[in-house]
């Protein structure tokens, strides 16, 4: 594996300055994904800028009622945070449904959001992958694609985003606080992730050197009634075959507000706006939930091996919302 230098910046500005100046530098969070990819030769940074000692490791309640989560807060700590558990159970459940205890102890909030796809072709330098090597082709499109996208994929890439946390954050309309060469700014999470299109190597809208410093959950009292449902091929320690983050706010039996996001279906965490529109203002029923999921999946284009993701996503949408409605 490529020899690299290790740099521990004194503050965020220095971290961003190093990344901006060094074209092959990379931020190091928990390292649970990056280090694997470095061993495999998929990523080959020459400088690792370790951001885990920066003062970004706190969870704070913000005056207007939301929650601000530092980028280096470990997944385990975030999942166990009493305010997260009380006000945003969807987030705690998404975190706990991911990886293993050991990995959650290492993985950071920012790193989790920016982890790379687990598409087997991406992770193997002996196979064609436009995301790893632009222009080399997408071996997954007509290959073993059971785990890959059904929505919004392109001929160039059918990868899925692997994060559970990001799906919950998408449902919560999270604001992402970033710092780049021009200083700090906010990005709505809906504008963070990209569709693969013709440039699957670009997974986010962040310019090079940008550091996620925190995520801000807006106040959302309805999120107290929220959940994350994940289905996987074994009981633990697996990426999602399908997942849904759901927030449901009922006025009597009428859906006053709803937030839905899907995992394992697309290149990015998939906010299900169409499904939400179907649900909003109507009396809740499991049948309505199924219709809402169908509306969201109407434009899905399953690949050869992953057609099951449509009925699966539909089933967990119905289950998640029905459970919330009756809770």
């Amino acid at each position: 594996m490529r020899a690299f230098r290790y740099h521990r910046p004194a503050d965020v500005a220095e971290a961003v300055a190093v990344l901006t100046a060094e074209p092959q530098a990379a931020y190091l969070g928990g390292g649970t994904n990056l280090v694997d990819l470095m061993k495999l030769g998929v990523q080959r940074p020459d400088v690792l800028v370790d951001v885990t000692r920066l003062p970004l490791d706190t969870v704070e309640e913000v005056p207007d009622g939301g929650l601000r989560i530092g980028a280096t807060v470990r997944n385990s700590d975030l999942a166990a945070h009493p305010v997260v558990r009380r006000d945003y159970p969807v987030l705690a459940r998404a975190l706990l449904a991911a990886a293993s205890g050991q990995l959650r102890n290492m993985a950071t909030t920012g790193g989790n959001m920016l982890q790379r796809t687990r598409c087997v072709y991406f992770q193997d330098t002996g196979k064609a992958c436009n995301k790893r090597e632009p222009g080399s082709g997408c071996a997954a499109l007509h290959g073993q694609n059971r785990d890959l996208a059904v929505l919004d994929w392109s001929e160039q890439c059918v990868a899925t985003h692997p994060s559970d946390l990001a799906v919950a954050l998408a449902a919560l309309d999270t604001v992402v606080e970033v710092h780049d060469a021009d200083g700090p700014r906010d990005i709505p999470i809906a504008e963070l992730y990209r569709s693969p299109g013709t440039h699957p190597e670009r997974e986010t809208t962040l310019v090079r050197g940008t550091l996620i410093t925190a995520v801000r959950l807006p106040p959302l009292p309805a999120a107290r009634r929220s959940t994350y449902l994940k289905v996987r091929d074994r009981a633990s320690f697996a990426f999602a075959a399908g997942s849904v983050a759901a927030v449901l706010d009922l006025d009597g039996d009428v859906v006053r507000d709803v937030r839905l996001a899907y995992g394992a279906v697309a290149h990015r965490p998939w906010r299900a706006y169409r499904a939400e529109a179907e649900l909003r203002g109507r009396p809740f029923s499991p049948e309505l939930a199924a219709r809402a999921a169908d509306a969201e999946l109407a434009e899905a284009r399953p690949l050869r091996h992953n057609g099951f993701k449509l009925p699966l996503t539909r089933a967990i949408t119905v289950r998640a919302l029905t459970e919330l409605a009756s809770s």
Binding site: M1, A3, V231, R234, A235
Partner: protein, 696 residues
């Protein structure tokens, strides 16, 4: 006189060393001047290397050498073609090791490997097994030396005449052994002598293979395997790592450590062949089998033939007047398949024990009762009585413990909320064999004893079991016995495989102990060390060829999510009859380990081959799923107190493999009972059962 060590639950002797990290594995021995090897796999499936450019690699910091077919030390031609690595430019399968980069650090070796430029001429390839593959042929025999086909009576006539018939085809994918410790070796040459620390299931056969390949007398080679982190058959003989490390060490004239990566374990070190198995069963209306036929198809490589004995299980398990078994193979451009826990019996029992379940339903009798009804005291294959056969006792006791009585056989008859609940049963059997071994026993003046044998403990507890056997054979408390294993300098012994380690090793140890006691007539400590040795070659070879088998019965309860198709195990219970159990703690580990691996086979494991690349694309443990602890909510293993004096002096049958045999069928049968859907292609994943509430 027995002190009663055998049968007691001693903790593993090496347990403290392992949990404190002081137990050394193959690449953990510190040594001066050590270097690191990194294996370079071929990037094409079938072809020929036309050029190797090592310029960049050699210029990379820390890289000492790139060893390849153009500069590697020569090895003798011989019966191990797949181990003759780096001798020729020919590539037989994708992932074949075509070079080794040696460097002063592991990372430098890995980086160097990336920089080796290799050009190939490549040709078309065939890597997918199909039942109509034009290359299907009949091998001369199947692993290890069974006849390829058998026939008794007239299957076609018997089948045609029967009132009840089942004709079903099952498919299993490639399975990859994945022991926790990868194949790993440290090799060093001194004055023409070779010392290797190797992760192997048998240092004696590894030494023999290295002697052959490097044309050395065996006494010039020492193979140490003191602690081994699992093998599941894939370390049964010398594998690529030991050959590459020895070649590289000779080339750079320094010690070389070489450990394969997890990714590199998917193929070149062996795997279980995919199978396509057609089973035909015929019975009378009482469920008595009249005709059995098992046709098995598997794959091998173009380099060496390995014919998994998939249908052999069916030859001896249940009786019927008309029987036939066949094996056919295809030579594909793939790595050679090899042993994986219960080769033959494991996939074969999945098919036969599933078909028995289908027959039970077709006849309308309970699947436990069907098996009881078709029990036989005489081996249908050999025509001789089994030395002991307690299949029925296992079925009865298992049914009692599991709470089988009163089971409603109707499908989809139990539901708990969204979960469909079902139960299933399967039989298990595995041959009880032994191989020649030798051992020494030494009495010391201080009253202690030393027992030496080149046995291997691959994590099973073998060291502890032999120690217990030795103590009883010496007639002393085990605390007075020291045991040494895992080194080819010790008396030669059988490998840890085929569930025959304990039988083979204890045999030699008991004979050595008996010989020692004859040398110590007064029973007291000698004034100087006294040693006796034993070699069981003649005795084992002279043993009458009788049908010796261990048996078991496996019971499973699953729940299946009616909407998502997720399958979860509620409980799994096995009862086994495997002769004498030496150590209940380690025996239980072996049995539940095998059962769990069977669960993993049923629900999770699948090597996904991409025909365009000719290799398995899910080659790590994040994408090749094995059962996790959370998948095993409840598992229990029991055994009968079985005595069989026609086995071996210790009276053991071996327990390393029987736990996996039949386990996948029990799971699949339970899934069918729960859902009414019969999945005949493993693994049973949610995509095959999704929306099961609308199916069947």
């Amino acid at each position: 006189m027995s002190t009663g060590a055998v049968g007691r639950a001693y903790p593993r002797l090496e347990g403290p060393a392992k949990v404190t990290g002081t137990a050394r594995y193959a690449v953990e021995y510190p040594m001066d001047g050590v270097t690191y090897g990194w294996a370079v796999p071929s990037a094409v499936v079938r072809g020929r290397i036309t050029r190797i450019d090592t310029t960049e690699a050699l210029a990379s910091p820390g890289v000492l050498a790139v060893v390849h077919h153009g500069n590697a030390p020569r090895m003798a031609p011989g019966p191990q073609p797949e181990l003759r690595l780096l001798q020729e430019p020919t590539v037989h399968y994708r992932g074949q090791y075509v070079a080794v980069v040696v460097a002063t650090t592991l990372e430098a070796a890995r980086e160097g490997a990336r920089l080796v430029r290799i050009d190939y001429d490549s040709g078309p390839h065939s890597t997918v097994l199909t039942e109509d593959h034009p290359g299907l042929y009949k091998p001369d025999q199947v692993n290890p030396s069974y006849p390829t086909d058998t026939a008794e009576g007239d299957f076609d006539a018997g089948y045609a005449a029967a009132p009840v018939r089942v004709d079903v085809t099952y498919r299993t994918p490639a399975y990859h052994n994945n022991p926790m410790e990868p194949h790993a070796t440290t090799a060093q040459w001194h004055d023409g002598r070779l010392l290797v620390h190797d992760s192997t299931q048998g240092a004696t056969p590894v030494r023999a293979t290295l002697a052959e390949l490097f044309e050395l007398p065996p006494e010039s080679i020492r193979v140490v395997a003191e602690h081994v982190g699992g093998g599941f058959g894939s370390k049964g003989y010398a594998k690529a790592s030991v050959v590459l490390a020895a070649l590289a060490a000779r080339h750079v004239e320094r010690p070389v450590k070489l450990a394969l990566t997890r990714q590199q374990l998917f193929g070149p070190v062996g795997y279980r062949t995919p199978t396509i198995q057609r089973i035909r069963l015929a019975a009378d209306t009482d469920g008595r089998l009249t005709a059995i036929c098992h046709d098995a198809i598997g794959q091998t490589s173009t380099i060496r033939e390995f014919a998994e004995q998939t249908a052999v299980y069916t030859r001896s398990m249940y009786a019927a007047p008309h029987r036939r078994t066949t094996h056919r193979l295809v030579r594909l451009d793939v790595p050679t398949p090899f042993w994986m826990r219960a080769p033959g019996e494991c996939p074969g029992a999945y098919a036969l024990e599933s078909a028995m379940d289908e027959l039970a339903i077709a006849v309308g009798i309970d699947p436990v009762e069907l098996r009881v009804r078709n029990d036989t005291a005489v081996d249908p294959d050999q025509g001789r009585p089994f030395t002991s056969r307690n299949l029925v006792a296992c079925l009865r006791e298992g049914a009692e413990r599991f709470g089988w009585a009163g089971r409603d056989p109707s499908l989809r008859s139990r539901r708990d909320g969204r979960w469909l609940i079902g139960t299933g049963v399967a039989g298990s059997s595995y041959p009880a064999r032994a191989r020649p071994s030798s051992a020494t026993a030494t009495a010391r003046p201080d009253g202690s004893f030393l027992v030496q044998i080149n046995a291997t403990d691959i994590g099973t507890g073998a060291r502890t079991a032999i120690w217990q056997v030795a103590a009883d054979a010496l007639g002393v408390p085990p605390e007075r016995v020291e045991i040494r294993i895992g080194d080819s300098e010790l008396p030669a012994a059988a490998l840890a495989g085929g569930s025959m380690g304990t039988a083979s090793w204890s045999w030699a140890v008991i004979r050595a102990a008996q010989a020692l006691r004859e040398k110590l007539p007064d029973g007291g400590p000698p004034t100087g060390e006294v040693t006796a040795e034993a070699d069981t070659t003649e005795e084992v070879g002279g043993q009458p060829a009788l049908p010796r088998y261990a048996y078991g019965a496996q019971f499973v309860e699953v729940r299946v999510d009616a909407d998502t198709g997720e399958v979860r195990l509620n409980r799994m219970l096995g009862v086994f009859a495997a002769g004498r159990v030496v150590n209940p703690t380690t025996a239980r580990s072996q049995l539940i380990g095998g059962m769990t691996m069977g669960l993993s086979m049923a629900l999770h494991e699948e090597g996904l081959l991409d025909e365009r690349y000719g290799d398995w694309v899910n080659h790590d443990l994040a994408t090749y799923h094995i059962t996790s602890c959370a998948d095993v909510e409840s598992i229990e293993a029991y055994w009968l107190d079985e005595r069989d004096d026609k086995l071996n002096p210790a009276g053991v049958k071996g327990i390393g493999e029987i736990g996996i045999v039949g386990a996948a069928a029990a799971v699949a049968n339970a899934v069918h009972h729960a859902t009414g859907v019969r999945i005949r292609e493993l693994p049973i994943r949610l995509d095959k059962l999704i929306g099961v509430s609308d199916l069947a």
